[in-house]
Structures are given as C-alpha cells and as structure tokens.
Symmetry: C2
Subunit: 336 residues, 2 copies
DNA sequence: ATTTGCAATGTTAACGTTGTCATTTGTCGT
DNA sequence: ACGACAAATGACAACGTTAACATTGCAAAT
C-alpha cells in the first residue's frame, strides 16, 4: 500500500532474540535454554515451563548458523541441477527434499545451467555453506569440480547417470543402454532413417552413442543428430532439418512433443497406433503429459522422483551398496 | 564399484582447511588471509601471492557459516513453494535464483506441499537459517506463520497472488480477475454450463470466485466446482462428474490437458477452432506444451519466471513500489 | 552425621570468521 | 634528523551456539 516502510513491522523492536535473551527473561543461564530446546528431559519441569514461556514470548528461533558452527553439523545438503524450470529434475529435487526435510535438513539449491564454469562456481558456493552432503545431477564437468568434491570429505551422490569413476554414491540409470533400447525397437519396427534430437550434455550424448552404435550395428543408415536449444519449441521445426527421417529419438519428452507438433503441421501424424505413424517418435522421461496427448507418446520412462529419493537415502547412510541403477523402461504407446 | 570406502577419498587427510591453516602455511596471521579474500588491495602483492598459493594448495573454501555469524549477513534467501515437481513454480524458482545466484546468494528451498502445518514448520526451519529474505508462493496460511515472518525483520515477498494485507513485498497477479476474464470469455462465446476444476488452495479459490461471480452475473447457470488431486491424470475422468458441461476452466494447464484427454476419449474434441469445440477448455499457466498439442490450449498466461525475477528484485532493494502486479493474459487458441 | 550419588544448573572454551583497534615498518617533508 | 603519516600486518573480542567439565543441592545409604 503506502510507499516504503521499515521492513520489520512495528510488531517487535527489531533484533532477533538469542539464547541469552531468552535466558535473561526466564532467569536462567543460556545453556539451560539450549537444553530446553535439545534435551528437555535434563531440565526440571518448572524451569522448562518458564523457559518455554520466555521462548514463546520472544518468538525465539534458534540460529542454525551458530549451531552448525558449534557442532560441525549444519543439517543442510547441497543440491546442484542443470536447471529446475520445466524439467524432469524438479521431480528429483522434490523426491530428495521430501526425504530430507522431515529429518531437519535444509536443501540448498543451485543451478549450473549446463555451464561448466558456473557449475564449478556453484559447487564451491555450495561447499562454502558446509553442507553435510552434495547431491548433483550428472557428474562434475571439470576435474576442478571433482577435486573440490573429493576434498570436501562429505558424501556425494551423482544422479541420472552411471559414471565410470564415481566420486562416491550413484543413483541413476544407464543412458547408453537407453539409446540402445530405442534404436533396437525402432529398427525392429522396420525404420531405418533414424535421428536423435536434443541437447549435447554428457547424458544426452551417452544416449546418442548407444542409439548410434546400435542403429548402425543393426544395419540402419547412419543416424543423424540434431543439437537443439533447451526449449521444446525449437524441435517443432526440427523436421525441416531431417529430410526423409522415419524415426526420431528425442532427448526428452518435451522435445518429443515439440517435434510431434512439427509432424502434425506437416501432416505426418496419425491418430492410429505406432505402426501407422510415418515418423516414429520416442521421448525420454515419461511426463504425465505424454500419456494424455494424442497420439500418446512412447518414451523411456525414468523415475526422477525415485532417483532423488534414492540419492537422499544414499547420503544418509554409509552402509549398503553405494551405486544404484534405478533402470528405465521403454513404454510403448502410439507415437512410435 | 567395491563396497564402502571412507567418504573422504585419500586425496587429503580430512578436515576442511580453515583460515588459520592457510595462515600458518603462508606464515601470516589469519586476518591477513581473510583480507586476501575480501580486500586484496590492503595486502602487499608479495604476501598476497604467498597466501593465494597456500589457499590453492589447501583447497581453502571459506566457511560461510562463520562469515554469516560474524557479519550478520548470510547471503542466503529462503524460498517456500507448495511443490516444485512438474509445477509452474519451478519457473519462479529458476527466475529468482538466476537473479540471486550471481550476487552470491544461496537459495534455501522448502516445500509446504499445500499443508499449513508443514508450511509453518518449514517457515520456521527457513528462518532458523537466518536468510536475508524470504520469498514464498502465496501468503502464510496461518496467523502463526505470518507472525513468524513479521518478527523476523527481513524482507518478505509474497508471490502468485495480490494479498489484501501483504506482509511486505508482493509480485503476483489478480487471481480473481483471471477467473472473471475466463468467465466473460466463455459466456460471450455462448457457453452457459460452466465448471471449474483443480485444487482448492487459496489462489485457485480466488480464481473460482471470480469465475463463479461473473458467470452468474452474466446469466449463465451456476458453475460447478470440482476439486481434484494435484496430478493431471485425475482430470481425465472429471468429465464423468460434469454431465452437460460445455466449458471448463482448469486451475492449471496440466489439469486442462488431462481434461482434454478425457474429452478426446469421449469423442468431444475437435481439430478445428474454439467455436467448434463441444466443450471449451481454458487452462492457466501457459505451459510450452499447451501450444504444441492439438487442439492447442487456450490459457491464462502467467509469467512465472518474471514473478521470481521481480520478487528477487523486490527483496534486494528497499526503494520503489513494493507491490507489483505482473498481470496475466488470456491467450486464445483452439481449445476454447 | 557423614558420605555417596544423582538431578539440576552453571562456567568456560571452543567453532571459523570479521570489526575494531593496535603495532610495526618505511617514506617523506622540513 | 625528526616527527608525521601511510602502508602493511597483527591481537583480541565479538557473533550465537554447544561440548566438556564444574558446581550446587538434596535424598538415600552407610
């Protein structure tokens, strides 16, 4: 409403209350207040009541910075994703955060935007917050980044892939094999002019490798690869770049749906089953949306939520296997 | 590969290096190292070189907890969203984080899952990290939550709505008016049996109110309201609950697309323009996907990215207007 | 009537930084 | 040749909490 006001509304005369402010009000020492928070059983009920009243009156909220410093346990974990907006990684963040938040962990989120320099920078920024663990999508892009993580001496989970030389824990799936599975399926369907569209990040490239190797091994023509911007709209016009193509593997469902939109405009999309499609399309991720559109999208289903959840469990315990392959599933619907 | 290994790989003999570890190695006092990091001009070039070498050798990363404690500036901001997975809020998080990360702020992310108790809890957890500001989607659901925020004495941005009595800053749009705009459009198109499908959170309810009030004022039949689970698949079957409906406003694009899928199964979806649709469908959010499907989705476009970006700017400065209406736009395509 | 033991509280020194003062040099002007 | 001054560095006390060790009482055991 009216222009600028002091941020702290008049409610309280500023200054966040500390342990000793509460202590003074309750007529005890600060350590007693600290105990009321952490180990209430050690404090006499009568005293405890007084302290609790004081905490309520002052609106005391413990300072986790100080706690973290004193105990060398910050109860926070760093999460690094390429991007969070309309991406399947949001599922992973949700999954891990649902696992971690009830345990009192804070999630510190950083985005690398598929940029190696920014990734290193964010990794370092994350580490400066002394998280108890790091969960990241993929693996560090640079040796500097990897060294940073190794030196930090905390659990690290790499996800969405199965790196050959992981730093610590892994929760992902085999991207190469995903490409293999798609190529096999398409060739078996009688397609022979294949293409791969999408990003050129390491994971997409692995998919491409599996796809390319397999298609050629099975006697199809050498697949084409089209590197696109990260938004699906770019793939609408991808068709123009791929004359004669009869099957497309898109790096993710958004690209696949974009490409299908291009096919529709060109009159190359049928309402019928996969076999009737002039151009088969397979996505990756299994967005809910893919199931709902027509023709429904065939895709490599990957459980992003489970990846996050598994990564969280991996960093919480030292026991058990450290490298978990969550697998994927080729879900065949009407698009290819 | 092989079972469990100590988390810290052999690279370094544990223990994260501190300022004084660097200082000892460089043969200076810790304050000098601190200056090399923050105020390099105050340190003689020769000394600075030695210190920088020591920092590199040890892999020194400043401890932001200690910095935050000493300076009472944590360079972090708390972000509270209902949910991050396949939701438009991910755009907002991306927007604000792109604005804030380059400035050295860390984003601490929490999800309320549309639960008031959890929201209060996460708010308090966030505050315990002493963020310099809080950005949240919507407004605190409880008076406790609001009090918590007011007492914290930091900038607070409420987003995705225009609350009547905001705590501090606001970056959003008028949800009631969005409902009004949709109802007007649908009634003008000659529809008179309207329905609203989606969640029952405060923002969805405001949309419903605008929608309902306007439809009735314009002489349509009293609209029906169907509260659905948060996933789009639920809306596929919504049609069965709405006999005779000829226009639907969905609380978001995902629900809209799900509902269209139900229409398609029922043979009630046409390839032609809005006028030919037996049942008009309007979404909200303007997912990229809505543009790509057929029939293309009419929707209330809301720029989630801009909301995040604006919220970030609002908490960074005290000057200028504190309440920004980013507006919305009724984008008409083929679905309604 | 001591001692023992435990329950309830308090004191002190960390944790890793930075702010606020010193202190040590060396340069310059007169 | 002497003080004035600045450049370079350092000592020390905060910041808000907790760990580790006191210190009180007072009840029970001897």
């Amino acid at each position: 409403m009216s222009g600028q006001m002091s941020t702290a509304s008049p409610e309280e005369p500023h200054s966040v209350p500390t342990l000793s402010a509460v202590a003074k009000l309750a007529g005890v020492s600060s350590i007693t207040v600290s105990r009321v928070v952490r180990l209430p059983d050690l404090v006499a009920p009568e005293t405890r009541g007084r302290v609790e009243a004081a905490m309520r009156e002052l609106g005391y909220v413990p300072n986790q910075l100080a706690v973290g410093l004193a105990r060398a346990r910050t109860r926070s974990i760093g999460v690094l994703v390429p991007t969070i907006a309309n991406s399947i990684f949001a599922d992973t963040v949700q999954g891990l955060s649902d696992e971690l938040e009830p345990l009192g962990y804070a999630v510190i989120l950083a985005q690398s935007r598929y940029d190696a320099a920014r990734e290193d920078h964010m990794l370092s920024a994350l580490l400066s917050r002394r998280p108890e663990a790091i969960i990241m999508v993929g693996s560090p892009a640079t040796e500097d980044g990897a060294r940073l993580l190794r030196r930090a001496g905390i659990p690290v989970a790499e996800t969405w892939d199965l790196p050959a030389a992981p730093i610590d824990a892994v929760a992902g799936f085999n991207n190469y094999d995903a490409g293999v599975a798609v190529a096999r399926h398409l060739v078996a369907q009688g397609r022979d002019s294949l293409a791969f569209i999408g990003g050129d990040d390491p994971r997409a490239t692995r998919r491409w490798n599996g796809f390319n190797d397999t298609a050629q091994a099975l006697g199809a023509k050498a697949p084409r690869r089209l590197v696109l911007d990260r938004n699906a709209s770019g793939s609408v016009v991808a068709l123009a770049e791929l004359p004669g193509v009869d099957a497309v593997f898109a790096a993710n469902d958004a690209h696949a749906i974009g490409f299908m939109s291009g096919l529709r405009k060109a009159g190359l999309l049928r309402d019928g089953p996969a076999a009737e499609q002039p151009v088969a399309v397979i996505g990756l991720g299994d967005l809910e949306m893919g199931r709902l559109i027509a023709p429904s999208l065939s895709t490599i289903r990957v459980n992003g939520d489970a990846i996050g959840c598994t990564a969280a469990k991996l960093i919480l315990t030292r026991a058990g296997p450290r490298h978990i392959d969550l697998g994927f599933e080729l879900v065949l619907r009407d698009s290819g």
